[in-house]
C-alpha cells in the first residue's frame, strides 16, 4: 500500500476513525507507532528483538480490535502505550518472566536528561551512569522503574503516564520521587 501524504497529516484520532471505515488505514497508525512501541517493549521487558516484534504485532492487533474503545478525550498515544504495557505485563505473567530493563538504545539526549534530573554533573559520572544505567534501573522497584522509563525515556508528561499506567497523577508523582530517590541511592 502506498502512503498518501494527506493521511500523514491526519491526527491519530482521525486515523483511528478512518480505520473503522477502512481497515487499510490502520497501516498509517502502525507506521506512526511501530518504532516507538518496539523500543518501549524492549525497555520494559527482557525479550529478544524477534520476541519484541511478535509482541508488537499482537499489540497492534489488540489495538485494532479495541479501536471502538478509544476515548478521544485521551491522547491516542497514551491509549496505545497502555495497551502495550498491559500486553507486556500479561506476557510476563504468562511466562513468569521478570521484566528487565535494557538500555541498549540509550542515546545522548536521554542520558543528558537523566544526568540533569539526578544532579549528575561531572562528565566522568555521566560515563559511569551510561555504563551502569540498566543495572541501576534494575535495582529499583518495578513500579517506580516503569514511571522513570515513561518519563525520561519515552518523555511522557504526568497526565500521559497517569493515563498509561491507570493511576492518579498524584501517585505518578510519588512513584517518580521514590524512583529518583532509589536511583540516587544506588548511584552513590
Amino acid at each position: 500500500m502506498v502512503e498518501s501524504p494527506e493521511f500523514g497529516q491526519k491526527t491519530d484520532s482521525e486515523l483511528a476513525k478512518l480505520t473503522l471505515e477502512n481497515q487499510d488505514n490502520f497501516l498509517y497508525i502502525v507506521n506512526r507507532y511501530e518504532a516507538k512501541l518496539l523500543r518501549f517493549i524492549r525497555r520494559i521487558s527482557n525479550v529478544s528483538l524477534d520476541e519484541a516484534q511478535d509482541l508488537l504485532q499482537e499489540v497492534f492487533i489488540k489495538a485494532y480490535q479495541n479501536l471502538n474503545d478509544f476515548d478521544p478525550s485521551l491522547k491516542f498515544s497514551s491509549w496505545i502505550y497502555r495497551i502495550t504495557r498491559n500486553h507486556v505485563i500479561s506476557h510476563y505473567r504468562k511466562n513468569k518472566n521478570k521484566p528487565i530493563l535494557l538500555s541498549a538504545e540509550i542515546n545522548e539526549e536521554v542520558l543528558n536528561n537523566l544526568a540533569s534530573e539526578f544532579d549528575i554533573n561531572k562528565k566522568i559520572d555521566q560515563q559511569i551512569l551510561k555504563r551502569n544505567i540498566d543495572g541501576l534501573l534494575n535495582q529499583i522497584d518495578d513500579r517506580y522503574k516503569e514511571v522513570i522509563v515513561l518519563k525520561y525515556f519515552e518523555e511522557k508528561n504526568y497526565q500521559e503516564i497517569s493515563d498509561i499506567i491507570k493511576k492518579p497523577t498524584g501517585t505518578v508523582a510519588t512513584y517518580l520521587n521514590r524512583g529518583k530517590k532509589q536511583f540516587k541511592e544506588k548511584f552513590k
Binding site: Q23, L27, V30, L56, F60, Q65, N68, G170
Partner: protein
C-alpha cells in the same frame, strides 16, 4: 521493517477476519460497571440506615452503668451492618476504579465520597423508617442474621448479674412471658401496656425463683416501645362520638 510489520499485521487482520469489537460492547461494559457502583452504594446506604437506627435506639447510658460495660457496648454495636457496609463500599470502589476514568481519582477520595453518599442516603432511609423495617425483615427471614443477633443476646445473658435477653412470647395483664436466647422461659412481672409479642428485649433485674425474674429496667432491643394500636382509629369498630349538645337557650332578660 516498517512496511513488513505493517503489511504483516494487515494481512493477518484480513486472513483471520479480525474485526473491531462493536462500540456497544464497550458502552455496555461501562454502563454495567457504573450500575454496579450505584447499586453497591444504594445497598451500603441501606446498611447505614439500619446502623443509624440501631445506634439511635440503643440507650447507651443504661449499658454503661452495668458491670462489664465495655462488653455490653460491643454487643450492641451493629457489627453485622458495618461489615455489610464495608463489603459494598469495597464493591463500589472496585467498580468505580474500573470505569473509563476511575483511575484518575485517589482511592481515599473515592472511599470517603462513598461513605459520605452512604451516610446521606442512609439518613434518609432511617428517617423514613426503612432502617427499622430492613432490620426486622433480616431478623425474621435471614437465618444467619438471626443467629448472630441471638448469639449477641446469649452473650448479654448473665443470671447472676441480673441480665436477660430474649423475645416476648406472651403478654398477660400483669406480666410478660419471655423466652431468652438460651431457650429458657421467664415470667416477668411488670405493667404490660407497652409490650407486644415478638418484641426483642433486654432486661436488667433480679433472679427470683421458679423462672421468675424481677425487672428493674426493660429495654426494647433497637426499637422504641410503642403503645398498642388504638382500635378506635378504625371508625367501623369504634362507636361514633356523641353528637354535640344543642346550644342552651339564652333566657331573655326582662
Amino acid at each position: 521493517m516498517t512496511d513488513q510489520i505493517g503489511e504483516k499485521i494487515l494481512e493477518k487482520i484480513k486472513e483471520d477476519h479480525i474485526k473491531p469489537k462493536p462500540r456497544w460492547e464497550f458502552l455496555l461494559k461501562n454502563y454495567v460497571t457504573w450500575a454496579i457502583f450505584v447499586i453497591a452504594i444504594l445497598i451500603g446506604s441501606q446498611a447505614t440506615g439500619v446502623m443509624i437506627f440501631m445506634i439511635n435506639h440503643t440507650e447507651w447510658e443504661d449499658y454503661i452503668q452495668q458491670e462489664g460495660f465495655l462488653q455490653q457496648i460491643l454487643i450492641n454495636l451493629p457489627f453485622f451492618w458495618l461489615i455489610f457496609l464495608i463489603i459494598f463500599i469495597a464493591v463500589a470502589f472496585y467498580n468505580i476504579k474500573h470505569t473509563k476514568k476511575g483511575y484518575q481519582h485517589s482511592p481515599l477520595i473515592i472511599v470517603l465520597l462513598s461513605i459520605i453518599i452512604s451516610l446521606a442516603i442512609g439518613t434518609i432511609v432511617y428517617a423514613t423508617g426503612g432502617g427499622e423495617k430492613l432490620e426486622d425483615i433480616f431478623y425474621r427471614r435471614v437465618g444467619f442474621y438471626q443467629q448472630i443477633m441471638r448469639h449477641g443476646g446469649r452473650m448479654f445473658i448473665d443470671q447472676e448479674k441480673g441480665r436477660i435477653a430474649g423475645v416476648i412470647i406472651e403478654v398477660n395483664p400483669n406480666s410478660v412471658i419471655v423466652e431468652d436466647f438460651q431457650g429458657n422461659i421467664w415470667e416477668i412481672v411488670t405493667s404490660t401496656e407497652k409490650f407486644i409479642p415478638g418484641q426483642r428485649i433486654h432486661i436488667f433485674g433480679k433472679f427470683l425463683s421458679n423462672q421468675q425474674f424481677e425487672a428493674y429496667i426493660i429495654k426494647p432491643l433497637f426499637r422504641p416501645f410503642r403503645p398498642p394500636k388504638d382500635p378506635c382509629l378504625d371508625s367501623q369498630i369504634c362507636p361514633l362520638p356523641p353528637a354535640p349538645l344543642p346550644p342552651m337557650p339564652i333566657p331573655e332578660m326582662p
